[in-house]
């Protein structure tokens, strides 16, 4: 997906301006930025949920099958459907009887919960379910809008590892929006910074520390620590 000089305003307020980025399958992109910088707005545009004012996106949003995982897992899941049905519903009708969802439910560690309901699960498990639904059927575009923000620290680390493993083998184009600099480095190959007030998207670099998927130990190696400092500095200046 190629995004060029994207612009979005809400009335007089310029939220996004001069946004240019190219997504590549298998190379997750992270976008960091302060609150109010337009990160979620950008994701909604890429998902086809919001119209943009000018610029171009090729192919147009909606053409590629797209999944979005947000931090509001309660809102996105359907509590009246079982875990299996919540995942199955994301498949095209002709695929729903093939039990394709079993593999992805196993992958996120919810095999024993397939016939249970979201309200019987913890927050971390529900977010695993949201991730399973996003992954099923291999969508062309995967969007994550601060997916781990509302989880406790321990659960967040567990799900970081899950996402790391999942994205390492994914053939989707992936965009992860986060305010957590460490998470951006852990999960993505390329990092961009979105500035507040529509001042554009700045490319911060391509990061690869060891072979993916990473383990949590990578956060202590000098290159990771240095990259984290650099990104924090960029975030402060945005």
């Amino acid at each position: 997906m190629k995004i060029e000089r994207l612009r979005k305003t809400f009335g007089d307020l310029v939220v996004l301006q001069d946004i240019t980025v190219t997504l590549t399958a298998g190379r997750p992109v992270a976008i960091i930025g302060r609150s109010g910088s337009g990160k979620s707005t950008l994701l909604e545009i890429l998902a086809g949920l919001l119209q943009y004012d000018s610029g171009s996106i090729l192919p147009e949003p909606g053409v590629i099958r797209t999944s979005l995982v947000s931090q509001d897992y309660r809102g996105s899941l359907f509590p009246w459907l079982s875990v299996r049905r919540n995942v199955q519903i994301a498949l095209p009708p002709h695929d729903r009887k093939k039990q394709i969802e079993d593999e992805v439910i196993d992958r996120v560690g919810l095999h024993e919960w397939s016939e249970r309901f979201p309200y019987e699960m913890s927050g971390g498990m529900r977010q695993r379910l949201a991730i399973a639904r996003a992954l099923v059927g291999s969508p062309g575009l995967l969007l994550f809008d601060e997916p781990l923000a509302s989880l406790d620290a321990v659960t967040r680390l567990e799900l970081q590892d899950l996402l790391s493993e999942t994205l390492a083998g994914a053939t989707s184009q992936t965009v992860l929006v986060t305010h957590d600099v460490e998470e951006a480095l852990y999960l993505a190959d390329e990092v961009y910074c979105l500035s507040v007030g529509g001042k554009g998207l700045r490319y911060l670099g391509s990061f690869n520390f060891t072979n993916r998927p990473y383990s949590q130990d990578v956060k202590f190696i000098p290159e990771f620590v240095a990259a984290r400092s650099a990104l924090l500095s960029a975030l402060n200046n945005s």
Partner: protein
């Protein structure tokens, strides 16, 4: 409280003691005719409420999810909704006569509005995140309504059904009072005219109990169906 009032008034015929009311109530239950009147009222309530549910929920779903349909039908809904259901009884008698059809028509007319309005309210917006999820899933219109919209709206739908159940009983008794042919409403009029006040109050107690049972049944059904609450 009733006993105090009855005693203070010197036990007039029309304010009998609680004991007398209780005994009279048992008397009417021992008489076979009462059951057919009770059944008639309950059947009319169920038929009228059932019709309102079968018509109100699908229309509510479609109107709630279709902006153009909502714009088209809102004036009509707002015009007919405030009309007291009792006001259409003469019209119903004119077209349907003085049989059960009149009762059922008036009951369903009165019951449909809470169900319709609550269903519309429950489906207009499912919440921002859920609406986004729904759009991205790309479901067919039927799957969207069946798998997501209707379940999401069930709490609001059941609120409408609960309100309508009370309205059903009120209208059933009202029409039976007017038509004076059968049902618990007729029993009220008949016992009042026959000076059988103990049985009259006993019938009122039975009507209240029917209402209580209806409420309890709906709550039970709601808890079974909306298991995720």
């Amino acid at each position: 409280m009733w006993e105090i009032i009855s005693l203070s008034m010197g036990r007039p015929l029309y304010v009998p003691s609680v004991f007398h009311i209780a005994r009279s109530t048992l008397d009417i239950f021992s008489e076979g005719w009462f059951y057919s009147e009770l059944f008639m009222t309950i059947w009319r309530c169920l038929a009228g409420l059932g019709l309102a549910i079968v018509v109100g929920i699908p229309i509510g779903l479609l109107v709630g999810r279709t902006k153009s349909l909502r714009a088209l039908l809102s004036p009509t809904i707002e015009a007919f909704r405030p009309l007291p259901s009792a006001a259409i009884i003469p019209v119903a008698i004119l077209f349907l006569g003085i049989d059960s059809e009149t009762n059922i028509f008036v009951i369903s007319y009165g019951c449909i509005w809470p169900i319709l309005i609550n269903t519309i309210d429950g489906t207009i917006s499912l919440g921002r995140t859920r609406e986004q999820s729904l759009k991205l899933l790309g479901l067919s219109r039927l799957d969207e309504l069946r798998l997501v919209v209707l379940p999401a709206a069930m709490p609001a739908v059941f609120t409408g059904i609960r309100i309508s159940a009370a309205i059903a009983l009120i209208l059933a008794i009202t029409v039976e009072l007017i038509l004076g042919r059968d049902g618990l409403g007729y029993v009220l009029v008949d016992t009042q005219r026959g000076y059988r006040y103990g049985q009259m109050y006993g019938s009122i107690a039975v009507i209240a109990f029917v209402g209580f049972l209806a409420n309890a049944s709906i709550d039970l059904m709601r808890n079974r169906i909306i298991h995720w609450r």
